[in-house]
Symmetry: D2
């Protein structure tokens, strides 16, 4: 983590640092205290392997102090009522109870696999996906290789090709829904998610659907993306393999 030194410095700064971990929490290493983050926002529907419906705020003392003097009207960011109820194991409002039971199971599953293995699994899947994209001759939407995401990969369409049309072809032909480009990236990229409750063969099927769909939608790609991913996934390492048990 190259930014640790800056983080410490920043810790002296009066501003608060807030990190959105919705598509990374429990998929990629994240260290709120060590990295000097004051507020973390997370959600249930990605790395925590649950349906959407829960959102989390983790706040440190520095963030809590800010709320005492702040005059900004708040609802979501007003943590005091929640903290008071939580101490007795309750909520000030009716929570999405069923998802809390699911969360307990999800946390058990993550502990059972081990966070190190969870992160290594996502790293493998991210690398396999990027090898597929490069083999297809397409561009990954990320200038800085150090900052590649291990939980999702955005593919840039060649000039003249609409990513939403590709997504539509893939949805209709293969019943697979890929993520849209948002904002100014709308129509220019689509996103492959490779996170959460996900294993090698789910990734392989995903890349197969993407390779076939790109061809069917008329995007000029080279074949071989799936093959490149398989070559990488089949290396005889056990690192990051979800269901690894000792072979006889």
């Amino acid at each position: 983590m190259p930014g640790v030194t800056q983080c410490r410095a920043r810790n002296q700064h009066p501003a608060r640092l807030m990190v959105d971990t919705i598509s990374s929490l429990a998929s990629i290493d994240y260290r709120m205290d060590e990295w000097g983050v004051d507020i973390t926002v997370g959600g249930s529907q990605k790395g925590l392997m649950l349906p959407p419906g829960l959102s989390f705020n983790a706040v440190n003392e520095k963030a809590l102090q800010a709320t005492k003097s702040a005059r900004l009207p708040r609802a979501y960011w007003n943590w005091e009522e929640m903290l008071a109820s939580n101490q007795a194991g309750f909520f000030p409002y009716t929570p999405a109870t069923n998802l809390l039971y699911g969360l307990r199971e999800a946390l058990d599953m993550l502990q059972e696999e081990g966070l190190d293995k969870v992160f290594a699994r996502h790293a493998r899947h991210g690398e396999a996906t990027r090898r597929a994209v490069r083999a297809w001759g397409l561009e990954i939407l990320c200038v800085e290789p150090n900052e590649y995401s291990n939980s999702l990969t955005a593919l840039v369409m060649p000039e003249g090709h609409d990513s939403d049309y590709v997504r539509k072809v893939i949805l209709e032909r293969f019943d697979m829904s890929l993520g849209a480009g948002l904002g100014k990236l709308k129509g220019r990229v689509f996103r492959i998610g490779h996170l959460g409750h996900f294993n090698d063969l789910m990734l392989a099927g995903t890349l197969c659907g993407t390779e076939m769909g790109l061809a069917l939608a008329g995007v000029p790609i080279r074949k071989g993306g799936v093959q490149a991913a398989l070559d990488y996934l089949a290396t005889p390492t056990t690192g990051g393999v979800r269901t690894a048990r000792a072979l006889a």
Copy 2:
């Protein structure tokens, strides 16, 4: 169906013809009356897309008559009590009620897709699988190409390779359970099932796991099986595509 003429002839024969459709019913065309079959045995857990737990007997008049004079002690094959209760919508013994609700939904799903499309989908998946096997340089356990199964494909191991070891590697590394060879085929073949609630990307993921697993288990194969299957699956026909809807 080349055997129809013989079937008619056979219909005059005093023996009864019984067909086991457990791995084919609702995946491959089957015409009990037209083909002169007297007794059909089916199960819930394959083409009917349900958990295991239900088995069906379909019997014609000729089979029913045989039970009147037969002196063989019977339990499963004694249909009279069942037929008597069924007329009023009941069962003589406690049935697996929950699976009957599931069956109703499964039948709705098959009607919704249309049996013709269901069969065409399985034919595509069978053909794609066989293309993969041939590209790997392995043998399909079926002498007569007219008789290839569209619901499962058995792969013969090269001399000196144990199919149960391959299955074990694939299960442990990729969490995918392939079918064992039974009886004298034990250790010599494994089976890829491609039937029931199954679509192109599930097949693609299955073939990816098989290709990687064969290599990891040291079976000498040529790469390119997955690619051959994708080339076939991505042809721009809509025939047999499960989720085909009109593209704009």
Copy 3:
């Protein structure tokens, strides 16, 4: 509805009328437009028979206009982004998708039963509960009989008895969780909910647990509450009976 005339008058008033229907929507008749309500708040977890996790805002033109000139910082009450996305069938943020599928089924169930019958069923259950409470010699927390709730009934404890202790006894002995008194009613009342996916025998079991639990907790009651409720529920009307079908 005695207040309709006032409502019309109020409609001329510049203030907006907001109604919280969380424990009444789809259990008790409610007419937003006819009664001149500008903003309605609802939730998934009561009359809509779903787990908690969805909340609804229904807003009229008058409420929408207010948001254009209002300077109050808003999050929940800022509907424009939601309305823009909803027109295309989408949401500006990730919704609790699974509950939306449940909501579709819940609405089908309500239509199937018929709202008139749903409301009559809740009216019967409310009246049966109140008859039980009166037979026990306890007080209902509602001064004005015209305003009794048909979806829940709050019981006032006699002086010197703690409603939270009664709730605890009933939870531990009968595994039934009754609602607590909130705010200044804490410890003085508990609430019996009789709403949503609820039928005569669920109410009967609830009242049995309440009658036994009150006695076990030492609250001085007369027996006979359950009997009074059964006498009312067993009257040979079909009005409001959930599963009424023609008797032969």
Copy 4:
């Protein structure tokens, strides 16, 4: 168990003793070895709290030996193939896998509650039900009080009243399905099941529906059956209470 001495004697007898425990296993004490039983038949759908679909045979050495010399054609009673497969944790045929997972959880639940408490709970519910039946002035179908069943109670209809009509009224009006009288008891008795995943308030609701339904169907009963059951269930013992935890 008054029959233990005879059982020991019977153990010398060449016949095999087979016991059907379908509606009693895991609800009422049962000791196969101690009571000299050779073959026990059980099912998933009663005391084991699962959907129907699994049946069990427990056989002792004496029963197994009989199969070696027996010439009776057998299917269900031919255990050797099953025993051979079971040793390796497998089945000779496709089992109802999903129910096996359910069975594991059901056994955990029974162990967690403790078999002694499970049996005491059923004894309380049986006794409460019988008190209700007597208070209604109806007859229990069991001549010998020592042999009352703690898992179900059959009620005899007064002359001129059809138990199937009572069942129909209760099903249509209260959505509760009671058991029919079978064979020569058809129309003369109905059965209240009080077994498996069942607690005091489920029983109370069941008895409320029965009392109301008997009256609606015109059967001459005295009121007070529910009250008699509640008086018994509310005694301050903790014996057999499912959810008993220490009260503060």
